[in-house]
């Protein structure tokens, strides 16, 4: 036993000293096409990562999430692959003046030109990047993204010495004013900005109901949710009370004392790190309400499904209508269905990826899976959450 403990200690030490030199290549383009659903599209400008020497056309709405480790020295090779000036401002990372990305105090990157931005990620937390040329317009066109700085490569604490989480969700809220995206040549008076869409990670409405953003877990989980807003109004996140949301960080810094609250208002440029420690089964949604700060009127609401299962076995039967027979399992997962309304069961990975789905009938069912070893969640829309199953 002693030898085993020692082995773990060595492993931890080697994992924790992981700051390094990071190089990445980013481009900006002004020819993005954004799908708004039902065949409807609009234009966007944005950022994308690439691997030199090949420069594919890909830019993303919103920009790719950049992930660094606290202490990393980062070099971003930025290619402005477009006909107008752009920059990258590292919002909240407090970089030196030359790398700050502001045209008047730093410099712009001319069309078809490039430069290297160099900085150190000094603090763990949530940050943003965005173009700072004619920002009111360029940011709105789509030139922004999220940055997560982990305290170390183990990626399960929110700051050094801070609480651990078992799963995470990174949510960048923003707005779309499609009147500008439809007609970037002559957008009209900037002061007349009006958001037409409230976005989360570049999607809105039904686009967020495809399972890709669902929070699926159990009462054993501690779920980190990083909130950020690049919109121009107020974004209010409302979590179900049983999710027991707590604010632990804001703007890339630990806050002096944890705040327990279901409702978190995020204004333009702010970030919050929230931990959910669900206390009961949840089959509900996180409401995201976007409002205009001038009129105080609501623009739109997005809903993110949240399914939390209880891990107590007795409660599994009563609350969920299924029992897991033989957990952990290998290859074949036996499930007893008590509730005839449950007709399909779906298996998700812990980070919310859909792994498979099968029809079931009341009584004993055998689901054949090809899951790698690990923990998974089994869920049905008729269930009061999700149950944790372990494949080995």
């Amino acid at each position: 036993m002693k030898q085993f403990v020692l082995f773990i200690a060595v492993l931890l030490v080697t994992q924790f000293s992981t700051a390094q030199q990071v190089e990445l290549w980013m481009q900006s383009r002004m020819d993005g096409e954004l799908a708004l659903g039902s065949g409807d599209t609009t234009e966007f400008w944005g950022f994308g990562l690439y691997t030199p020497p090949i420069i594919p056309k890909d830019i993303e709405f919103v920009g790719p999430v950049l992930r660094f480790v606290e202490g990393d020295s980062i070099s971003v090779h930025f290619l402005n692959n477009s006909p107008e000036d752009h920059t990258i401002h590292w919002h909240g990372l407090d970089v030196d003046q030359a790398n700050d990305g502001v045209p008047t105090t730093s410099s712009v990157v001319d069309p078809d030109s490039n430069r290297v931005y160099s900085f150190v990620a000094t603090h763990a937390g949530t940050f943003n990047y965005h173009c700072h040329v004619f920002t009111t317009f360029h940011l709105s066109m789509g030139m922004y993204g999220l940055i997560v700085v982990d305290p170390d490569t183990s990626r399960n604490t929110i700051y050094t010495g801070g609480p651990r989480y078992t799963q995470e969700h990174n949510w960048l809220a923003s707005e779309l004013n499609r009147n500008w995206n439809d007609n970037p040549i002559s957008p009209g008076l900037m002061t007349l900005y009006d958001a037409t869409h409230g976005m989360l990670n570049g999607k809105y409405g039904a686009q967020l109901q495809d399972g890709s953003h669902d929070i699926i877990g159990t009462t054993d989980d501690t779920i980190a949710v990083r909130l950020s807003s690049m919109g121009y109004g107020k974004v209010r996140f409302i979590f179900p009370p049983e999710a027991e949301a707590e604010i632990h960080m804001s703007d890339g810094r630990q806050i002096p004392s944890v705040i327990a609250t279901d409702t978190i208002d995020v204004y333009s440029g702010e970030r919050f790190t929230v931990l959910l420690k669900p206390s009961a089964a949840i089959n509900s949604t996180v409401e995201i309400v976007y409002s205009d700060v001038r009129s105080n009127e609501e623009i739109t609401t997005n809903e993110i499904p949240i399914y939390i299962g209880v891990t107590d076995l007795d409660e599994q039967n009563i609350e969920n209508g299924i029992s897991i027979l033989g957990n952990p399992f290998q290859g074949q997962l036996k499930v007893f269905v008590h509730n005839e309304a449950i007709q399909t069961l779906t298996i998700y990975s812990m980070d919310g990826k859909l792994m498979g789905s099968e029809n079931v009938t009341p009584g004993e069912n055998t689901l054949t899976t090809q899951l790698l070893s690990g923990t998974y969640l089994i869920h049905s829309p008729k269930m009061n959450g999700a149950l944790r199953v372990v494949s080995y």
Binding site: G92, D100, T136, F137, M190, K234, D251, G252, G269
Partner: protein
């Protein structure tokens, strides 16, 4: 600790409390039409003299001071006053003069504001800085729509409509780049300095102040007190909220600081105006 020391400490404490001085000051309520951020607006202010200035006054006092404030109303209508939206002081009728008294027992940034509708909408709020050290700066924020302000001033309308599109965005009465020439607002200092910034939102909407280059500590706030002692790069200031920020620069540089609600960094239709100023830190 002996008895004599305890008595001395008690006397010291007692003399500190009683040391609060009586401070006499006078402010004028002026309302006039003036050009701000290149547009003609109706503007209401609390000024230190009988001459109209588009910038609101500020008063520096010590903790515990009793401010005896004489308000001379040069406007044609009555105005109600308060210590921001914390304490109501009373009414000054048109062309009348009233003296109010308020003791400021806490450190930080406060406002002497017109709380009745028109003066509030048109941004009348003076800053009272209580016990703030010498190296300090002040941002008194006001946003408005030019046509709306004229309609409000003429009594054509009396409320901010839901289709409110501010096009006049100011710090201490100026829009960028004029804000950079304002020594009260433009932050200049050295690495390691303790720089206090008083932020006063005299506008009608929330403003989020984004710092480039540095995080600041919110050392005092009058509305969202849960953020006191938070370190942020984007502090949020609600309408009529007053707040004190502490900046201790860790590196030299010249950086913008601006409202991150990006419709507020416009002067008319041109980007790079409005609520932007500058922080310049020498080594």
């Amino acid at each position: 600790m002996n008895k004599i020391f305890l008595i001395a400490a008690f006397l010291l404490g007692w003399s500190n409390i009683s040391k609060g001085a009586v401070i006499d000051d006078t402010l004028y309520i002026h309302r006039d039409t003036v050009t701000m951020a290149e547009l003609l607006v109706n503007r209401c202010v609390l000024n230190p003299t009988s001459t109209f200035e588009k910038r609101n006054a500020y008063i520096d006092i010590s903790i515990g001071d009793d401010l005896q404030l004489t308000i001379i109303n040069t406007d044609s209508i009555a105005h109600d006053l308060g210590v921001s939206n914390i304490v109501s002081l009373g009414t000054v009728n048109a062309s009348d003069t009233v003296t109010f008294s308020h003791t400021f027992n806490g450190f930080g940034t406060f406002g002497i504001a017109i709380t009745s509708t028109l003066g509030y909408q048109l941004g009348a709020q003076a800053t009272v800085r209580v016990g703030i050290p010498n190296q300090s700066f002040m941002w008194n924020l006001w946003e408005m729509n030019d046509t709306l302000s004229l309609d409000l001033g003429n009594g054509i309308t009396s409320s901010i409509p839901t289709d409110y599109y501010p096009n006049v965005n100011t710090i201490n009465g100026e829009a960028h780049p004029e804000t950079v020439a304002d020594t009260l607002g433009r932050v200049i200092g050295n690495v390691g300095d303790s720089i206090y910034i008083s932020v006063v939102n005299s506008g009608n909407i929330v403003h989020t102040i984004h710092f480039h280059g540095y995080h600041v500590k919110i050392v005092q706030a009058t509305q969202n007190t849960s953020v006191i002692n938070w370190t942020k790069d984007s502090p949020v200031v609600q309408p009529r909220e007053t707040m004190t920020l502490l900046l201790v620069p860790d590196k030299p540089g010249m950086y913008p600081v601006h409202d991150h609600n990006l419709i507020s960094v416009l002067t008319q239709n041109s980007y790079g105006g409005g609520m932007i100023t500058n922080i310049t830190i020498q080594p």
